[in-house]
């Protein structure tokens, strides 16, 4: 059985044939959430609408590079993030970092936020990095699905606080009302699964130092 084509994929196919109705539909579907995203940061309605406007133009100009396997919403949010960053830098609100790999949003390379970096500074191939990232993302997604199915929401919260928020074990334990030992056990199991995935997929361990930090420390 062929995979069902997602409605967003069909919409993008129609936009690629130059259909104004399809473009209008995409704007209607996504402008509200994009505007909320930008406005939560800028707090200025007119400037926020300008950034959203640039986001839509950025989407159309980058459309030849868009891979429809990537969720459309995430793709639009990533463009909006870059346009927002540009705006904040122009306004002097966001400090510019020397040799920043996220220095500007020009170039239309929206496939991954990291792919906007200058090619000369990339030590390993972007294709390889993308493959590594996809493999680990799939592994984490599978684990989250398994936890959801079992109703193990606390483990999802625990890993999200540890890895996404970067919280310390003791803060996670206090936030979730569990012991530090439980947090350490959950973390150990999660890392062991990811290490196993890295081994099975024959990925380079050196590019996931976080997964081997304890081994190197001992």
């Amino acid at each position: 059985m062929p995979d069902t084509i997602r409605p967003d994929t069909l919409l993008v196919q129609q936009i690629r044939t130059g259909k104004p109705d399809a473009w209008n539909t995409l704007i209607a579907q996504y402008e509200g959430r994009l505007l909320s995203f930008v406005q939560s940061r800028l707090r200025q309605r007119a400037a926020s609408e300008d950034v959203v406007q640039e986001t839509f133009i950025g989407f159309l100009t980058s459309l030849p590079n868009y891979d429809t396997r990537r969720p459309l919403e995430s793709y639009l949010f990533s463009i909006a993030s870059h346009k927002l960053t540009d705006y904040l830098r122009r306004e002097g609100r966001r400090p510019v970092l020397p040799l920043s790999s996220t220095a500007n949003s020009d170039g239309g390379a929206w496939d991954m936020p990291c792919s906007a970096r200058p090619a000369s500074s990339i030590a390993r191939s972007g294709e390889r990095r993308g493959m590594e990232e996809e493999a680990v993302a799939q592994g984490i997604a599978d684990q989250i699905d398994a936890w959801r199915t079992k109703g193990d929401w606390q483990k999802i919260k625990c890993m999200e606080l540890l890895f996404v928020c970067g919280a310390a074990n003791k803060d996670v334990a206090a936030a979730l009302g569990i012991s530090e030992q439980q947090v350490a056990n959950f973390k150990f199991d999660f890392i062991a699964r990811l290490q196993s995935l890295v081994r099975k997929q024959r990925l380079n361990e050196d590019v996931f130092p976080e997964l081997y930090a304890d081994e190197h420390a001992s």
Binding site: T17, I27, S36, R41, P95, L161
Partner: protein, 149 residues
């Protein structure tokens, strides 16, 4: 739980920004108030700028972190339909509790924006403004619409 974490976030000194937070800052996906805190700290503490440069260097060398992969792929973000169900109060207690955690503790900016949009749609008080905004976006961008063969 929420109060504890809000206090944790507030009392965190600039030097205590985690690497995960700094990565999120670079991707413009850190909660808004923390984005502002990082920006303020960057102007005051050179050491923080050096940490940012180191993170960029690590990324440029192709080194991954679990947090940035998780965040970039939005691996735990509830689907939009589930956010709608959350607003309608029809999710199971456990699922609703997780959505609340994701919105209020993790403070996911993308899901926060989505839920604000859904709330606005429910109220539909500014329908005229929405129509005129959409028309403006369409008119300003339709010139870039091209048939791609």
């Amino acid at each position: 739980m929420k109060t504890y974490f809000l206090n944790f976030m507030r009392t965190n000194m600039p030097a205590d920004f985690s690497n995960a937070e700094l990565e999120a800052y670079l991707d413009e996906s850190l909660p808004v108030e923390r984005m502002a805190a990082v920006e303020d700290a960057l102007r005051q503490y050179e050491a923080l700028e050096q940490r940012m440069i180191a993170i960029n260097g690590r990324r440029d060398a192709g080194v991954h972190s679990v947090g940035e992969i998780w965040r970039r792929h939005r691996l735990s973000c509830p689907p939009r339909e589930q956010l709608g169900s959350y607003l309608l109060g029809v999710l199971s207690n456990e699922a609703a509790d997780y959505v609340k955690f994701h919105l209020e503790v993790v403070k996911c900016r993308y899901c926060g924006a989505s839920i604000e949009d859904l709330r606005a749609q429910q109220s539909a008080a500014d329908a005229g403004a929405v129509t005129s905004r959409r028309l403006k976006y369409f008119q300003s961008s339709a010139g870039y619409l091209r048939r791609q063969d």
